[in-house]
C-alpha cells in the first residue's frame, strides 16, 4: 500500500513538474555577498515626516539619484528592513513628486539621457551625455553652479565616469567614452570626485588601464591640486578642497574595506564646506550629486535581495544628506531616480516577505518617485518631466535662463 502511494506521489510530482511552465532563466553571476545582512542599516527612529522649512534661500543642493529605483524598489526595501508600517529615510522627506523619464527617441530611457535631462534640462537620445540630439552641448546645472561660485561634487558607487555622474560634468556623444569623461571631470574642476573607475585615470601602459593613450590623469590631478585617496582610511583622514577618491578600477564592490556610500557622502559634504571656507569673496554654497548606482545593477540581474541592500545603502547616504540639511537650514535635498529597472512588482505575501515579480531584465518607462526637503522643497511637488528638475532648481540658485546652450 505504502509503495503504491509512494509511486503515485512521485508520478504526480513528475506530471506537475512537466505541467508547470518554467521561467526562462538567464545565467547571471550573483555576487558573493551575504545580501541578507542588513545590519549596516540604521532605521529611522520615527515615521513622522521631516518638517517643512520656512527658509527660502537655497545655499546648498544635495541631489541624490537612485539608479533604477522605482517605487517598487523603495517599497521592497522598506518591507524587508522595516515592515509595512515603517518608512525609509527618503520616505520621510516632506514633499513628494512623480517624475516622467522618457528620452527624446525612446519611451524607455537610459541613464545617459535621463542624467542629461536632470542636469541640463533637455531631452536627448539614449547614450548621449550633455548634448542635444543634434550634438550641440548644453551646460549642466552643476557647471552653472560652479560658474556662479559654488563648490561641486560627484559621488557614486559605479565608476565616477559612468553615465549618471558623467551627465553632470561632461559632454560626450556616447556614454562609452569614459576616458574622455574622466578628462572632462578634472578639466571642469569638480571639487570632489568619489567612486570607482580608476582604470580611466591610468595610462595605457598600466596593466589595469582602460585608456587608449598614455595620459596619467592621477598625476595630472595631483598637479592640479587634488588630494588622491584610494582606501577608506585615506578618505577618512582627508579634508581638502579638491579630492579625488577612486576605490576600484571598475565599479565598487560596496563591501568593506571600501568606504560605504554614506561615508563618501559625509566626506564629500565636509570637503565641499572646506572648499567654500577656503574661497574668499563668495558666500555661495555647494552642489553635490550622490548616486546609488548599483540598485540598477541588482535589478538588471532581477536580484531582489541585492536590490534591497543597494537601496538601503543609498538610503543611508540620503540620511547623511538629511542630517546635514537639517543642521544647516539652507540646504535643499532632492532624492529621485533616473528610471526604473526590472519592472519590479510586489504581489501577495505576508507583510514582511512580499513576493516579487520582474517583468524585464532591462529598464522600464514607468515614472519614478521624487522626495524633497529644505528651502523651496514644495516647488518639487507634482507630476512632471525630469527636465523640469533643473528648470525649477536653476532660479533657486540665481541661474537664468535655463536651459543654457553652450556657444
Amino acid at each position: 500500500m505504502l509503495r503504491t502511494r509512494t509511486i503515485a506521489t512521485i508520478t504526480l510530482a513528475i506530471i506537475l513538474a512537466l505541467a508547470v511552465p518554467t521561467t526562462r532563466a538567464f545565467d547571471y553571476p550573483t555576487p558573493k555577498v551575504d545580501v541578507n545582512d542588513l545590519s549596516f542599516y540604521q532605521p529611522p527612529i520615527s515615521t513622522e515626516p521631516y518638517p517643512l522649512t520656512t527658509a527660502k534661500e537655497v545655499r546648498n543642493v544635495i541631489f541624490c539619484i537612485g539608479d533604477g529605483m522605482g517605487l517598487g524598489q523603495v517599497t521592497l526595501a522598506r518591507l524587508r528592513a522595516l515592515g509595512p508600517a515603517g518608512k525609509l529615510h527618503m520616505e520621510r522627506l516632506p514633499v513628494s513628486g512623480v517624475i516622467r523619464t522618457h528620452s527624446s527617441n525612446r519611451l524607455v530611457t537610459d541613464s545617459a539621457a535621463s542624467g542629461t535631462a536632470m542636469s541640463s534640462g533637455i531631452k536627448t537620445k539614449n547614450g548621449m551625455i550633455g548634448l542635444a540630439p543634434d550634438g550641440s552641448p548644453y551646460r549642466t546645472i552643476m557647471e552653472a553652479a560652479k560658474a556662479s561660485g559654488m563648490a561641486t561634487g560627484l559621488v557614486a558607487t559605479s565608476a565616477i565616469t559612468h553615465a549618471t555622474p558623467a551627465s553632470f560634468a561632461s559632454h560626450v556623444k556616447s556614454r562609452k567614452m569614459e576616458a574622455d569623461v574622466a578628462e572632462q571631470l578634472l578639466a571642469n574642476r569638480v571639487n570632489v570626485l568619489l567612486g570607482g573607475g580608476r582604470r580611466f585615470f591610468l595610462p595605457k601602459s598600466d596593466p589595469n588601464s582602460g585608456r587608449k593613450d598614455e595620459r596619467d590623469l592621477l598625476a595630472e590631478a595631483r598637479d592640479a591640486g587634488y588630494v588622491y585617496a584610494e582606501t577608506a582610511a585615506q578618505l577618512r583622514s582627508v579634508n581638502a578642497p579638491y579630492l579625488l577618491g577612486l576605490f576600484q578600477d571598475k565599479g565598487l564592490t560596496t563591501l568593506p574595506p571600501e568606504p560605504m556610500l554614506a561615508l563618501m557622502t559625509r566626506k564629500a559634504i565636509e570637503c565641499l564646506r572646506h572648499a567654500k571656507d577656503m574661497s574668499s569673496g563668495s558666500n555661495k554654497g555647494f552642489f553635490l550629486m550622490v548616486e546609488g548606482s548599483q540598485i540598477d545593477w541588482a535589478c538588471h540581474s532581477n536580484d531582489a535581495e541585492s536590490c534591497v541592500r543597494q537601496t538601503l545603502l543609498f538610503d543611508e547616504a540620503v540620511k547623511a544628506a538629511i542630517d546635514f540639511a537639517l543642521a544647516d537650514g539652507h540646504t535643499l535635498v532632492l532624492v529621485t531616480a533616473d528610471h526604473e529597472t526590472g519592472g519590479l512588482t510586489l504581489f501577495d505575501g505576508d507583510t514582511k516577505e512580499a513576493r516579487v515579480k520582474w517583468s524585464t531584465k532591462s529598464h522600464t518607462g514607468t515614472p519614478v518617485p521624487l522626495f524633497a526637503l529644505g528651502p523651496n522643497a514644495e516647488q518639487f511637488a507634482g507630476v512632471y518631466d525630469n527636465t523640469e528638475i533643473p528648470k525649477r532648481l536653476a532660479p533657486l540658485l540665481g541661474i537664468r535662463p535655463w536651459p543654457q546652450p553652450i556657444k
Binding site: 526562462r24 532563466a25 538567464f26 545565467d27 547571471y28 553571476p29 527617441n105 525612446r106 524607455v108 530611457t109 537610459d110 541613464s111 539614449n126 547614450g127 559605479s158 565608476a159 559612468h162 553615465a163 556614454r175 562609452k176 571598475k250 565599479g251 548599483q294 545593477w297 538588471h300 540581474s301 524585464t360 531584465k361 532591462s362 529598464h363
Partner: protein
C-alpha cells in the same frame, strides 16, 4: 573548420530576446534594441550575463557544427 563561440554585446537598456539554451539562426535579432543587433552565426545561446561596468548584456553563442 570549427568556429569558436561568438560574443554579442547589447546595451542593457533594452531587453534581450534570447535566453540560454535557445537555438538561434544567423541574422536573428537578439534584443529589442533599436537598430539591427543580430546574431552573426547560427548556434545555441550558451550564456546571457550582465556586465555592469559597461552596462551591457553579454550574449555567448556556440556555433552549430
Amino acid at each position: 573548420m570549427i568556429r569558436r563561440e561568438t560574443t554579442i554585446r547589447i546595451d542593457a537598456t533594452y531587453q534581450p530576446t534570447v535566453a540560454p539554451g535557445d537555438t538561434v539562426f544567423r541574422g536573428q535579432k537578439v534584443c529589442k534594441e533599436p537598430g539591427e543587433q543580430t546574431c552573426p552565426i547560427a548556434g545555441t545561446i550558451q550564456t546571457v550575463r550582465f556586465d555592469p561596468d559597461r552596462h551591457e548584456f553579454v550574449i555567448v553563442v556556440v556555433p552549430v557544427h
